[in-house]
């Protein structure tokens, strides 16, 4: 089974294997979800929170493994519970990062304890932390499909109010939108998305699908719908490519995924600086004050 330049034959070979089929099916759904949800994670500057979810979920997953429950159940439980409490406790607090960091460190420690109590320590730990897309079962695929539908439906309903309250929270609130509820509902969707995305990226590499593609896409389009489409497109492309490449050599797919999104991000940032023409719309210090949201006048 080696790589040939006949791509059709290669793909036929890959898809003749059931675990590769599962990997592609789950990977496709996860990539699209991560690309969509990731846009709002980046827009709301919730990257650290998303990371925390995945690590709190890690504690839940490790506990689930220890007690013989499917890891994804523990993951979901951990990330939603942890996520909701973070969302409620630290709302509008300037020290949110500190709270998140404290909870996160504690959760990781608990996860470590659970794993060391479990005998299959090493492999489980590695696949939880860094993803094990080639080990996805038919049941995992079905579960991923279910969660994907939930997240897509949730995002479709929330879309405009979420966009509004992310871009212009004060006006959205004055317009009567329940911004706290929207924030919590979104974080719950992030928790669900994280708990399926870790199958591909693992707990520690969650940013590679959840943050980097959206951050890259933000520089390529100016309308939210297009940014989301590009973001989902990027994470889909790197997931497929990562799977394809990892089929032919022994290194993990999540490494290739993280490497590709990183390179793409750097390229876009480098190129974009050059093709962008600020022209007359140059910024001065007054604009920066306004833009940084700093209350300068009172």
């Amino acid at each position: 089974m080696g790589f040939s330049w006949n791509i059709i034959a290669d793909l036929q070979q890959i898809f003749s294997l059931q675990f590769m089929q599962h990997a592609f099916e789950a990977g496709t759904m996860i990539a699209i979800i991560a690309g969509i949800v990731g846009y709002f994670v980046v827009l709301r500057r919730s990257t650290f929170v998303a990371h925390a979810f995945s690590e709190i979920g890690f504690a839940g997953a490790a506990g689930a493994i220890l007690f013989g429950v499917p890891a994804v159940v523990g993951m979901l439980l951990g990330s939603t519970l942890g996520g909701t409490s973070i969302a409620v406790l630290s709302r509008r607090s300037s020290h949110r990062d500190v709270y998140v960091g404290i909870v996160l460190a504690f959760a990781l420690g608990i996860g470590l304890l659970f794993l060391s109590l479990y005998t299959g320590y090493a492999t489980e730990a590695i696949s939880l932390l860094f993803g094990e897309i080639l080990g996805i079962s038919a049941l995992d695929v079905a579960r991923t499909l279910l969660f994907t539908i939930v997240i897509l439906a949730g995002m479709a309903v929330l879309y405009r109010p979420l966009l509004f309250s992310s871009l212009d929270e004060e006006v959205a609130e004055a317009k009567g939108l329940p911004t706290l509820f929207i924030g919590i509902a979104f974080l719950l969707l992030v928790a669900v998305a994280v708990s399926i995305a870790v199958q591909v990226t693992g707990v520690l590499l969650i940013f590679s699908l959840m943050v980097t593609p959206a951050a890259t896409a933000q520089h390529l389009a100016s309308r939210p719908s297009r940014v989301i489409a590009i973001s989902a497109g990027i994470s889909l492309a790197v997931t497929w490519l990562g799977l394809f490449v990892s089929f032919y050599q022994p290194y993990p797919a999540s490494f290739f995924i993280t490497a590709m999104v990183f390179v793409l991000y750097v390229l876009v940032r480098l190129f974009h600086r050059r093709i962008r023409t600020p022209g007359e719309h140059r910024t001065d210090w007054r604009d920066r004050v306004l833009r940084s949201g700093k209350d300068y006048s009172s």
Partner: protein
């Protein structure tokens, strides 16, 4: 001419602590009203009460003849702080659109309608050509026009503008005031504008609400900006001086911004 806001012996504050009391005033459609006062006088608090985001502590307030209610589509609001993400290339038009459709759940089925309305709102603030510019690349004055368009897109009867001039230089300040004045006159909306400095506003104003020292003075600028009325407000001797161009200087209050 219809009454938009009617306040009687209104008092407001936070967590039971009164910031100001005794505000009795009326804002009619087509009124351009400035709210002036030192920092912490409670100017934004008045907006929050009108918006239904905060309960008054005493007195009564009617907005469009009813108790203030959060989410009134008849109010267009531009808060003092807007955070524009420099990393994002979001275009102006998208933000203005949200002023109309951002409170609707689900996907838009009539996205062309709100696009057209948003373009029209941008046109009415002279910002039609900014529609496809990223927000992060606009100047302070251009941004204020976009926010004004976002507030205008739902065709409000009352505009609440919280310190729209605070980060603008004098020329942009004058341009924006002209624009707001034009909007007020042409659409017959009422505008309430919070500012630090009364002088650039003087040519346009119908009324002034002056907040200081826990008290509120209301009237025409020529009535409020007198040595007697401001002395009564602050409880100390204050002198209002006029220069040859009609500008006011307020003497006697340390750190006051009316005389900038």
């Amino acid at each position: 001419m219809s009454t938009i806001v009617l306040a009687e012996e209104l008092a407001a504050g936070y967590s039971g602590k009164t910031i100001w009391r005794g505000a009795t005033f009326k804002v009619d459609s087509g009124d351009f009203v400035a709210i002036i006062g030192p920092n912490g006088a409670g100017k934004t608090t008045l907006f929050r009460v009108i918006l239904g985001l905060q309960q008054q502590l005493a007195g009564s307030i009617r907005v469009f003849g009813r108790e203030p209610e959060r989410g009134s589509p008849r109010i267009g609001y531009v808060p003092q702080q807007h955070v524009v993400d420099e990393e994002s290339h979001l275009e102006s038009l998208e933000l203005v659109r949200l002023g109309l459709s951002g409170r609707e759940w689900g996907f838009s089925l009539r996205s062309h309608d709100d696009r057209d309305a948003a373009l029209a709102a941008l046109g009415s603030v002279g910002g039609r050509e900014l529609a496809h510019h990223p927000l992060a690349e606009l100047s302070g004055g251009e941004l204020q026009r976009i926010f004004l368009a976002e507030a205008l897109v739902s065709n409000p009867d009352l505009l609440l503008l919280d310190e729209p001039l605070s980060n603008l230089d004098m020329r942009r300040e004058r341009d924006l005031l002209r624009l707001v004045n034009e909007v007020v006159r042409s659409r017959n909306v009422a505008a309430m504008l919070i500012a630090h400095n009364i002088n650039p506003l003087l040519p346009y104003l119908d009324k002034v609400i002056y907040m200081a020292n826990g008290k509120v003075a209301i009237g025409k600028p020529s009535e409020v900006f007198t040595s007697e009325s401001l002395s009564a407000l602050y409880g100390i001797d204050i002198e209002v001086l006029h220069d040859s161009k009609g500008n006011l200087a307020i003497v006697g209050i340390e750190g006051h911004h009316g005389d900038e």
